[in-house]
C-alpha cells in the first residue's frame, strides 16, 4: 500500500501491526470495538480490516488515490469498523471511554480496545481520559500503548520524557502489563492476564514495547520511518527481509500454503 501510494508513516504502521492483528484475530469478540487512536497508522488498520473481510481489495488499492474512502488517516463515518476518524492525537482514549460508559449504562458486555502511540501521551487529553477511566473503573476499556520510543522528530525521552511510564500508569490506577508488542506469545500472555481482571476494579493498560519500522533494517528505530516513502530498491529490500524473516520463523516458503 505504501509503495503504491508513495507514502510515509510506514514505521508507525509496522510498529503496531502485530498488536492490531492480535487484537482483531485473537482477542476481540464480534461485539468488541477497536479504536486506533494513532490514526497515522491507518494502513495497518486497513490491512487488518481487509484480512477480516471488512474492506475489499479494490478499496485497499484505492489507498491515497483521489476519491478513495481510505485516506492516510481514518475516514469519517465511512467504515463500520472504524467508529471515529482519529488522527488528531489524544482523542481515542476519551472516545473509547465514552463508548465504554455507554455500554455500561446499556448493560452491554463489550470491550473497547484503544491503541495509542507513545508520542501521543504528550497530549493532556490522554491524561484527562486516564483519570476518568480509572475513577469510573471502566474495566471494559483496554488501553494498549505502542511504546516504540520515537515520535515525529525525535526520541520520546528527548522530547518529553515519559519514563517511568509504568509507574505513572499504576499511580493513575491502572493494572499495567508490559509485553513485547511484536511477539504473539507475549500478547497472548497479556490477554490471559487481562482476562483475570475482567471483574476487577482496575482498568488495564498494556505497554507494548515495539520498534518503529519493525522488521525492515533500514527503517527500524529511525525517525525517517515516520515520514519517508520507499524507493523501489528499498521496497525490494523490505520484501526480501520480511520474506526471509517469515521463512526463518516458519521453516519454509511463505507462499507454500
Amino acid at each position: 500500500m505504501y509503495q503504491k501510494a508513495n507514502a510515509g508513516h510506514i514505521g508507525s504502521s509496522l510498529s503496531c501491526a502485530e498488536i492490531l492483528v492480535f487484537l482483531r484475530f485473537a482477542w476481540m469478540t464480534n461485539e468488541d470495538v477497536l479504536v486506533l487512536s494513532k490514526g497515522h497508522a491507518a494502513a495497518a488498520l486497513y490491512s487488518v480490516l481487509a484480512e477480516a473481510g471488512v474492506l475489499t481489495p479494490e478499496q485497499i488499492d484505492s489507498f491515497y488515490e483521489n476519491g478513495t474512502q481510505l485516506p492516510a488517516l481514518p475516514p469519517v463515518n465511512a467504515i463500520a469498523d472504524i467508529p471515529f476518524a482519529t488522527g488528531s492525537l489524544g482523542h481515542g482514549l476519551s472516545l473509547s471511554a465514552g463508548m465504554a460508559l455507554g455500554a455500561r449504562l446499556s448493560r452491554r458486555d463489550r470491550r473497547y480496545y484503544c491503541v495509542t502511540s507513545d508520542g501521543e501521551l504528550d497530549e493532556g487529553s490522554i491524561w484527562e481520559a486516564a483519570l476518568f477511566i480509572a475513577h469510573h473503573r471502566l474495566a471494559n476499556v483496554v488501553w494498549v500503548i505502542d511504546r516504540n520510543h520515537l515520535q515525529a522528530i525525535g526520541r520520546t525521552e528527548d522530547v518529553l520524557a515519559l519514563e517511568p511510564l509504568d509507574a505513572k500508569l499504576r499511580a493513575f490506577g491502572f493494572h499495567v502489563i508490559t509485553v513485547d508488542g511484536h511477539d504473539f506469545r507475549s500478547l497472548l500472555a497479556a490477554r490471559d492476564e487481562c482476562s483475570a481482571f475482567v471483574d476487577a476494579s482496575a482498568p488495564v493498560a498494556i505497554i507494548a514495547n515495539t520498534h518503529k519500522g519493525n522488521g525492515i533494517s533500514y527503517l527500524q528505530d529511525t525517525v525517517d520511518s515516520h515520514y519517508l516513502p520507499m524507493s523501489p530498491a528499498q521496497y525490494a529490500q523490505a520484501l526480501d527481509e520480511v520474506t526471509r524473516a517469515f521463512m526463518a520463523a516458519n521453516g519454509g516458503d511463505p507462499n507454500a500454503d
Binding site: 471515529f84 476518524a85 482523542h91 476519551s94 472516545l95 463508548m99 460508559l101 446499556s106 483519570l131 476518568f132
Partner: protein, 302 residues
Amino acid sequence: MRTEFAQAMIALFETRDDLVFITGDLGYLAFERLAAVYGERFVNAGVAEQNAVSLAAGLARAGHLPWVYSTAAFTAFRPYEQIRNNACLHRLPVKLVGNGGGYGFGIMGATHHALEDVGVMRGLPNMRVYVPLVAADVAAVVSMMAKDPLPNYLRLNAPAAVPTALPAFAPWRKLKPGRGAVVVGVGPVVQALYELSAPALLEELEIWSVGTFPLESIPAELAASITTKPHLITIEEHYAACGLGEALSYSLLTSGVVPRALTCLSAAGYPSGRYGSQRWHQEESGLAGPRLKERLEQILNG
C-alpha cells in the same frame, strides 16, 4: 436560565431513557435534584472539558443522547477540536450547553466571558446554535435540541423580561412593531432596548429576535421592513466578528434584500481595561444604557 434548564432536563428525563448529563464540575445549587433524578446517568467529568466532549461523542456513538454543561467560555473554547472532530464531523447528537454567554459572568473577568462562542460554533459543520431570549424559551429549546439529530450549542444567560406577549420560541420572532428603524437582536441583551426610559424612542423601533444559527430564511415581513425602513440595526452581546451582524448581512445580501443603512451594535471587549457587572460591560460597549440611547437617537434622527 440555569434553573429553567435544570427543570427542563428533569422533565425530559421522564420522556426518554437515553439521556446522559455530563457536567464539567459546575452546577452548584442548580443541579442537585437533576443529579438525583439522573442517577448513574449524571456524570461529573471533572474540570476536563476536552475529555468531556469526547466522552459525549463516544456515548452518542453508543446510542445515548449526551449533554455537556459548563460555563460558556469553557464549553466552547477549550474542547473546540473535540467538538469539531468528534461531534460535528461525525454528525453525532452531542448537546453542548454554555452558561453565561457574553458578559454573563460579569465581574469574574475576561477569561470567564464568552464573546466569540456563537461565532466559533456557527462556523462548524452540522452545528446548530440555540439562543433563548426569555425563561419560557428554555424548555422549548431543550425539547427541540433533544429531537435534533445533529450537534447543538445552547447559549444560556440571565433571561430577558421583555414586557410584551411573546410568541413561542422560534428561529425568528417579531417582538414589536415600529416605524422608524428595524432592530434585529439575539439573546437577552435585547431587553436593554426596553429599559431606555424613552417611550418615544422605543415606539419607533420594530424589534425582531433571532433564536438559532445558522439563520433560517428571513421572513417576508422582516425582509419588507428592512427594504422599506431607513435603517437596520443589529444588537448582540458578542464580538462583531462572526456574530449576528455578519451572519445577517450575508443572509440579506445573498437573498437580494438590501438595507438602506446598517448599524451593527456588538461587544467592544474591554476598551477601558476595567471590569464590572454584566450590565456594566453592556453599557461600556453601548449595548445598554445611555450610550445605547444616544446611538439610537442619532440613527433615528438621521
